[in-house]
Amino acid sequence: MIPIDSTGMGGASPAPATISPRPGPGGTAPLTVESVGKVFGRHRALAGISTAMNAGEITAILGPNGAGKSTLLAIVSTLQAPTSGAVRWGDVELRRGSPARAALGYVGHDPGLYMDLGALANLTLFAALYGVPDGPARAATLLERVGLGGAPMQAPVRTFSRGMLQRLGLARALVHEPSILLFDEPSAALDPAGVTWLGTELQRERDKGRVVVLVTHDLDAAAALAEHVLILRRGRVVRDERRPGPWGAAHLRAAYEESCRG
């Protein structure tokens, strides 16, 4: 179970993303999924998914294997195009080629790094690809923030432990100060300390007013972290519910089992 840190510690923060849509009623633009469908050949992976993911809120996307969670995240991240429907950030459509893609940060179970480059070189490269000013300084700040300030900077990151790689992967995703953070099973293969650390980081990013989306099988983590839960089954939304505080593991598990039954 991931402990909740409600302190919302803020780190050194560079200039905010330059691309931002018109804010929603909450002050920061929500991410809306509008009737999104995805068909692979004759297999329908998603059917008419609609939901809204608010800024300053963690949305957990849950569901059994094959429910369409990762497909939905791939569409939100613009890596896959939907067969039908659209994803919007405020009034801006998120799709491949849209400048608003620069507002996205993605953390998967793989770190998304060049394994033969050093930690600083990786972050500096991605900072440059996103046009972040003063990339090396930004990279150094992020390395400190994720607890890798003392790591060997010149060593290829393939020599890092799994936990170190995941920390570096988060730093890579944050290098351009994204407004939307997407996590796909980020705690897979992390030890308990790493899972705790990651939970704290997710809350920290939520408290900065970002849209945080977490795809996971870990119901305990989702219960501890998420305010908004979206349960998918066979490519459809079977539960879309918000709570003002943590869900509680027992309650979420019961809701999940009820939703996925039958």
Binding site: A81, Y114, M115, L117, L129, V132, P133
Partner: protein
């Protein structure tokens, strides 16, 4: 540290991606070492087979050996360049960045060409030594043929390597798919080189093959740039 905002134009991003690949290679020297080793083995095997009694084979054979060595070593280098994108799922992070896909293609292409040219330099020296080839007489024209052949090879190879990023038997598939398509370049390169290595070089024929390769390169470049985005996006 008052560093300005880095350039995010097409060529700035393409050069950044090429620079990243070359920096990785500089650290590991993996592609250069394996490709050069393979090329040397090929040249040595051919030298044992064709140099009989100290007599070098005719220019047509020497040119063929040179291009076969380049082709075989090139596939190894190409595959490894894209393996580095697959390790750690770096390709996903790269595709999520706001860099145009065609700039990614151009960057990978430039890095592959530079690495292949490095190997080709070593192979050409070896062929010159082992087969007593008259490379120095028309070094500029032969270099142009090699450059055009390398660009064409890397242009098609980068597209196929990207398409096979997540395939299981990608090494076998890359050779199977790539060799038939680059055959026109191989033939033109070998014929043009042979014309230039001859004791009485046929410059008109060499010029024809050079122009032919340039035309093939243009076609490959246009098709490659057009095909890369949907292929790498999985559409």
């Amino acid at each position: 540290m008052a560093e300005g905002k880095p350039g995010t134009g097409f060529w700035a991003q393409a050069l950044r991606i090429a620079g990243k690949d070359l920096a990785i290679e500089w650290r590991s020297r993996e592609i250069l070492a394996t490709s050069a080793f393979l090329a040397v083995v090929v040249v040595l095997v051919f030298s044992f087979a064709f140099v009989v009694g100290g007599v070098a084979p005719p220019p047509t054979v020497v040119a063929g050996i040179l291009w076969v060595a380049i082709l075989i070593s090139g596939v190894v280098g190409l595959g490894r360049t894209f393996d580095r994108e697959r390790d750690g799922d770096a390709i996903r992070a790269l595709l999520l960045s706001p860099v145009p896909r065609t700039a990614i293609y151009a960057g990978k292409l430039m890095a592959t060409v530079v690495l292949m040219l490095g190997v080709e330099l070593a192979v050409t020296v070896l062929v010159t030594v082992f087969f007593n080839a008259r490379v120095g007489d028309n070094a500029g024209a032969i270099a142009a043929l090699l450059l055009l052949g390398t660009i064409g090879f890397a242009t098609v190879g980068s597209v196929f390597s990207a398409a096979l990023l997540r395939a299981r038997s990608r090494d076998v598939l890359l050779s199977t798919l790539l060799y038939p398509i680059v055959v026109p370049l191989l033939i033109a390169g070998a014929r043009g080189t042979s014309n230039l290595l001859d004791p009485t070089p046929d410059y008109d024929a060499a010029a024809f093959w050079t122009q032919f390769m340039a035309a093939v390169d243009v076609i490959f470049l246009v098709v490659g740039a057009w095909a890369f985005e949907p292929i790498v996006s999985g559409d």
